[in-house]
Amino acid sequence: MRVWSTPALLVICLTGAALLGGTGLFLGALFLHVAPANAVSRQYQGDLDAVVYPEFEQNWKLFAPNPLQQDLTVDAQLQTIGEDGQVRTRDWLDLTAQDIAAIRGNPAPSHLDQNMLRRAVDFYRSTHPEQEGAVVGPRGALAQEYLKRIALQRFGRTAGGERVLQIRFRLGTATIAPPAWSPEQVDTGVQYQELPWWPVSEDDYRGLG
């Protein structure tokens, strides 16, 4: 072992103590963050959030407490206006089917197909309270614009050569059938949630290429 001078030893010991203490506090904060809400984490909520967010987020409830048991379907529909001024409502387009088609048979599916639309809908749902008359926060507006732009990128600027006026979505969920040996009976039909028409302007296309 090296023989240190006293000042050197002091620097090493102080830094070492600070490092060990810091490491302990950091790991303690991570633990309290992933643990169920408890007396300590409630007491120090602000401090814990300051450590964990934004760069040390912990999302480890992987398929827990229960795995997702519903398939998502997202359909979108356009309303266009022709040169004659006539407004036409176009057919529904199944956006998730495009994703699934890209994923099937692909050993390394792209985040573009596997995550973008799926997580945009999660984001939308988490920011739009179900109750009637509930106020949508600032993140709700971001989620709406994001979902709209994802669909517009896939549709393109025109539909049938006509300018796009409005867009609307319907979000479907279908419960996955239980395994063959299970006695459970579930309805596997698609339940739709229809969203209102959202106006489309030139701004919504910015950068979409």
Binding site: V11, A64, L112, I176
Partner: protein, 409 residues
């Protein structure tokens, strides 16, 4: 030095490659010999007195880079996972993180204003800046995997990876989360001590003389930061499995033994529906895998007290991640998880791998770098790395190549 190393349980951890520069001279030649047979040429204040428990702990924390090979595997694994991902998404990069993204710079800016997450991509909206960051990220991944100027590479890797992910957090999954955290932790640890071009360069330099104290103090500080960093990486992996496991225990589907059935039938996670159907077809298999997953995840942290059991569970977890990679179509998530798990790989196994393949890979990589640099190799020799390797190092290379021949023969 050698005597202390021989007595410590973590003895194998600091071999010739891992040994600090100051301790390299004695360690390189005698590391493999029986402890105590070699006399340390450095002057020792009290050669006969055995170190106290505190002194040994102090030495282990301030002077020993713990688990250098495990750090190297985590480094290489994370770099390959993220580098592979960037390569795979290269055609989609602008839609995911760039100027063509539905998550426009404006939307991202509003969210970042709330979260204060770090990204260099908001510094400029120009296409050129984005392309530069993306391609620097790819380059950093390659350099980090090779271990070239590892500290600088790891910093570039962390800055680019975190920047890209924070530009659009809404396309990420668990794998991105793991890469994000590990990228930051890797900056703190000396992950280039083994299995890297840096380690190769260090071995080829003439052994340095005694280090001046200020430099030695800095070296000790860096070692302490490394050791804390390795502890954080290990604790992070434990937290991942504990959280995943303990919350599953509470889930009705994990309790009734059918949980595995559901992910295997989610449209978004079935690239091979036939394979998924086959795997989930049997009641018994589904039940065993469902319960096995929970037991594995909950139990893993507790098995750390027992080496053998820990290694068995580690192998099972890595196998499960390989299966997830294929069946659920999550190769980069799985690779990142396997890379993080690697912090718990046993040193003995890594040493075996090192002896078999390490030297060979390093030599190949070194030649590749030399060719790129346009420097012709001086010799066409079989195993000699350059003209000035001394006898001892040559001996090591001989042994390595013999083993390699035996392994392939």
């Amino acid at each position: 030095m050698a005597g202390v190393r021989g007595r410590l349980p973590g003895a194998g951890v600091s071999g010739p490659i891992a040994a600090g520069e100051a301790e390299r001279r004695p360690a390189a030649g005698i590391g493999r010999q029986r402890a105590g047979t070699a006399a340390d040429p450095a002057p020792q204040p009290a050669p006969a007195a055995p170190a106290t428990r505190f002194e040994r702990l102090f030495d282990a924390f301030t002077a020993r880079v713990q688990l250098p090979r495990q750090a190297a595997v985590v480094r290489i694994g994370i770099a390959l996972a993220w580098g592979g991902y960037l390569l795979r998404e290269w055609p989609n990069r602008r839609e995911l993180y760039g100027d063509r993204s539905p998550w426009s710079a404006e939307l991202a800016g509003k969210l970042l204003g709330e979260t204060h997450a770090f990204t260099v991509l908001t510094w400029s909206d120009s296409r050129l800046w984005f392309e530069l960051v993306y391609h620097l990220g790819l380059l950093a991944a390659v350099l980090l995997a090779l271990g070239w100027r590892t500290r600088a590479s790891s910093l570039l890797f962390a800055v680019t990876a975190v920047s890209l992910q924070n530009r659009n957090v809404l396309v990420g999954d668990g794998g991105d989360n793991v890469v994000h955290l590990m990228a930051i932790y890797l900056v703190l640890v000396r992950c280039g001590r083994a299995w890297s071009l840096d380690a190769r360069r260090r071995r080829r330099r003439p052994p340095p003389g005694p280090t001046a104290e200020p430099r030695a103090v800095l070296d000790a500080l860096a070692t302490m930061v490394h050791n804390c960093g390795m502890l954080v990486i290990a604790a992070q992996v434990v937290l991942i499995y504990s959280t995943a496991g303990w919350y599953k225990v509470q889930g009705s589907r994990w309790q009734d033994g059918t949980a595995l059935h559901y992910p295997l039938h989610l449209d978004y996670f079935t690239p091979w529906p036939g394979l998924s159907g086959l795997l989930g077809a049997s009641l018994l298999v589904t039940f065993l895998l469902t319960y096995g997953t929970v037991i594995l995840q909950v139990g893993f942290p507790f098995t750390l007290a027992n080496r053998r059991l820990k290694n068995v569970l580690l192998a099972l977890m890595m196998a499960e991640h390989l299966a997830i990679a294929v069946t659920l179509g999550l190769p980069f998530f799985s690779l990142a998880m396997i890379a993080a798990d690697s912090v718990f790989l046993p040193t003995g196994v890594l040493l075996r791998v090192e002896r078999r393949f390490g030297r060979w890979v390093e030599r190949r990589a070194g030649r590749w770098v030399e060719r790129r640099a346009g420097r012709p190799r001086q010799k066409q020799g079989r195993e000699d790395e350059d003209g000035r390797t001394d006898g001892r190092q040559e001996g090591v290379a001989e042994r390595g190549s013999e083993e390699l021949r035996q392994a392939s023969g």
